[in-house]
Assembly symmetry: C2
Homo-oligomer: 512 residues x 2
């Protein structure tokens, strides 16, 4: 007990500093929050005028309070959220108003006891039904608030009708005041420094792609140039890797919420097409699936046993190249989304496949790592290359035809190279014996094999991300890909990202 | 346009059936929802009596509507959520009431214009400040609703004070009605068929552990006994694997929400200790990190190239054993949580390490897979085994001392076995040439190496899960582990799970 009190006292002592820091940080992280807070203050003051100013008060009366309440409840940070809540509130109120009149009409005729019972039954029925309806996923996702307001207004009108003769006044006042409140909220959030959910989603997607790109790049580099760097730099590297994929892994809820809110926003892309916000969420899902492999790759860095450095050095170049190509593809995708321009899947795939081919060649060109070839026999078991797929997961692992075609890990090419490899082996051997002939156990080779395999796996999964981004470009009618404009833009691609991401913190597309 | 209309018409036509199915499914999935809907109906009817019954109405007056509104807004599915909302609403109202009086007192003296300006400024200031405060993560997480209600009530009282002389009546009515509404909600949700968030969290954690266990088991089995099964069974296998880890991957938001709600619930474990709900969320986080490896393992099944079956067959036994041991550990953890009893980390670690040792021996006992030993030289590079860790991720990969000690993948043992291996090689060779001598390329060996490496990685990550569950047992004061009771229970461990999970859909701990 004493401990609790001391702990509490410590907390209270530390509170002002802590609270101050937290408050400052919130505003620094995203200055739009300060603007939003001021907007809410202004909206509340304006709506209070309905009550404070004589002529306005005469028109609406004391139910003006409902307008104040509406502003408190409906005003949200982004346009999409405000619209969603405002429309839900408006629709719910309207529907409840009309339904309540129906019940009022039915309950009009008979005696007082009957009316009380009737009202009680109606309240029970509607209460149970609407509560149950709110569990239906589709309703919960889109109209949860509307259903609640429906129930609220319905109860308000129905129950009031017991003691007030002219319920029409209440219903009219309620609908009118809520309409005024919602209208004011919409004006404030749509016209004055609007924050668009869609824009947040857009820039989040871009920064996630870029974060993953640097995460992978650093991860691969670190695997090969490990202890060369000082500890402080090492930590910052780890942080970079960790934050890159962490942001993607944790993005499910925020992506889905933003996509939902954005789908309420009246924004259109070129030629008045609706922007397919849910496709952004799908890109996010593909990216999340992709990032599981990055986590596993990062796990290789932290593994207890490590393959000898000299072995890793043999494949350094090609592994790093694969890593860089993967990062490059992610950055290209980010650029494509940022510029609303389509990308060329062929070019990206070709680069990737060249890098894969390179890695494959590197793996094959080191004969002392070719398992079991000591006996010099040809394989007596056919290579099992049939991919295992079920319908559900098919799209998650689908490899585009181009990448399969050029993928030199396919068994056919392996066989055809079987003979030609005899010659380089003889040429290479004397050379290798001079430099690095390493006896390696299978258990020691495991981590490196896993690392390489995960790199290859990553390329396969990247394909799904590319597909989803391509689909996004198609649905959002991105500007079509032109060869020359690709070459132009590739030069500036390294510098552009950061600047634009920073700008996104301010609502740059204000008037859209 | 025509398309849109046809699409809409189709939707409308299909709607009744779809809506019926959705409605039915919601209730079937969790019958507690039906009960909850009825509870809300009853609560609303009861609270309406405040308005409908003459003696009650005389006491409270027409502000009884606020009690009805409170019930609509506060009544949530679980006790924790209702308590959180109810207490927030009550506290917010009380605070706002007292603050509004202060302002009323200040604004009491001077003329009408001054009062209007003063009220306007106060509304603006409080509106902006509370909106800003709601962005602070700690407030957002715990008191978001309370701050909103504070603003709502404050505005209501302050603005009303302009035209109503005795604002005390409004404030008293509002506090009283909201207290009545909240009280009714709490009684309904605490005493009549309560749904505890903590219980949901508890059983979710158990079923996630069990789902992962079967996911891993099936995954490993499928890798070795692939095409033997018919397609339909194959699909159900894939579904089992997928659902097992999918449930864990998607659990972040629901875990955290449930833990937060549960922390409001007045439930205590044995000896009146508070149940550490946030530790459940931490177990969930460890489990999520663990499941990334399961996703990668599943990726190995779907890889484009596969290691020849005959090679895989050589290690089938030991790989399957590792997989089974991992599943067994997860099931033991699930059992430990279910029975509120601690487990024996030593026993579980020992079994795991035996399985790992077994796998290691299997890998070493097949000389044709030992890389590069053709040259018969000893390694000329020291094996790099220093683990790379940063502070942040340290706990995520920490391997308990026991598992490091017995882990035969450590380089020391590798060296000591270097010499002794010479003999078995000679003995084994004639035998192997009869059965299966396979020439294997490194690129073909990659997927299998990755699979094995991921299995080992999984064991390492499992350690963090074990640590978190152990910590949970410590914090929640689980019954201590006894050797004989362990042996007894292990017999029934296969049958118990399903039954208990099904029972959890009904509130079994009703009176707790």
């Amino acid at each position: 007990m004493a401990e609790t009190i001391y702990g509490f006292a410590d907390k209270v002592k530390g509170f002002p500093g802590l609270a101050g820091r937290a408050t400052w940080k919130v505003g620094k992280e995203d200055p739009r929050r300060v603007v939003h807070a001021l907007k809410v203050g202004i909206a509340l003051t304006l709506v209070s005028l309905l009550y404070l100013m004589e002529p306005l008060f005469k028109g609406i009366g004391k139910n003006a309070m409902w307008a104040v309440m509406t502003v408190v409840v409906v005003m949200e940070f982004t346009v999409g959220a405000t619209l969603c809540k405002g429309l839900n509130r408006g629709l719910g109120t309207l529907l409840a108003g009309s339904l309540a009149f129906l019940i009022e009409y039915v309950a009009d005729a008979p005696g007082r006891i009957f009316r009380a019972v009737f009202i009680g039954v109606a309240v029970f029925m509607l209460g149970a039904i609407t509560t149950y309806v709110r569990f239906i996923p589709y309703i919960k996702k889109n109209y949860d608030y509307g259903v609640m307001i429906f129930l609220l207004t319905f109860n308000l009108i129905t129950v009031s009708s017991y003691r007030i003769d002219n319920v029409w006044n209440i219903a009219r006042d309620r609908i009118a005041t809520i309409a005024i409140g919602c209208g004011l909220c919409l004006v404030m959030s749509l016209l004055i420094f609007p924050n668009w959910s869609g824009e947040d989603l857009h820039s989040n997607t871009i920064s996630k792609l870029e974060g993953l790109a640097s995460s992978i790049e650093v991860c691969v580099m670190k695997y090969f140039y490990d202890h060369a760097k000082p500890a402080t730099q090492d930590e910052s590297c780890e942080d970079l890797i960790y934050e890159g994929y962490k942001a993607v892994l944790d993005s499910k809820t925020s992506d889905e919420t933003l996509a939902l809110q954005a789908s309420w926003e009246p924004r259109y892309s070129r030629y008045c097409h609706r922007i397919p916000w849910h496709q952004y969420a799908r890109v996010g899902a593909a990216l999340r699936h992709f990032s599981y492999t990055v986590v596993a790759l990062h796990g290789c860095l932290q593994s207890e046993i490590q393959t000898p450095k000299s072995i890793r050095a043999l494949y350094k170049g090609s592994c790093i190249r694969v890593g860089e190509e993967v990062s490059e593809v992610l950055r290209e995708l980010a650029k494509s989304i940022r510029n609303n321009s389509q990308f060329s899947p062929e070019t990206l795939s070709n680069n990737l496949n060249e890098a894969l081919q390179d890695l494959d060649n590197a793996l094959k060109s080191q004969p002392q790592l070719v398992l079991g070839s000591r006996n010099g026999r040809t394989p007596n078991t056919p290579v099992q290359a049939t991919p295992l797929r079920d319908q559900k997961l098919e799209e998650e692992t689908r490899i585009s035809s181009s990448s399969v075609k050029n993928d030199s890990f396919s068994p056919r090419e392996c066989k055809s190279k079987e003979h030609s490899r005899e010659t380089p082996k003889k040429v290479l051997r004397p050379q290798l014996s001079k430099t690095a002939i390493i006896s390696l156990e299978f258990s020691e080779a495991l981590p490196f094999a896993a690392f390489t395999s995960l790199l290859v796996e990553m390329v396969a999964k990247l394909d799904r991300v590319m597909d989803e981004v391509e689909e996004l470009g198609r649905l959002a009618h991105f500007r079509e890909f032109k060869d020359d404009d690709y070459n132009d833009e590739i030069v500036v691609s390294c510098e552009k990202p950061r600047i634009h991401v920073a700008q996104n913190d301010l609502p740059s597309h204000g008037g859209e």
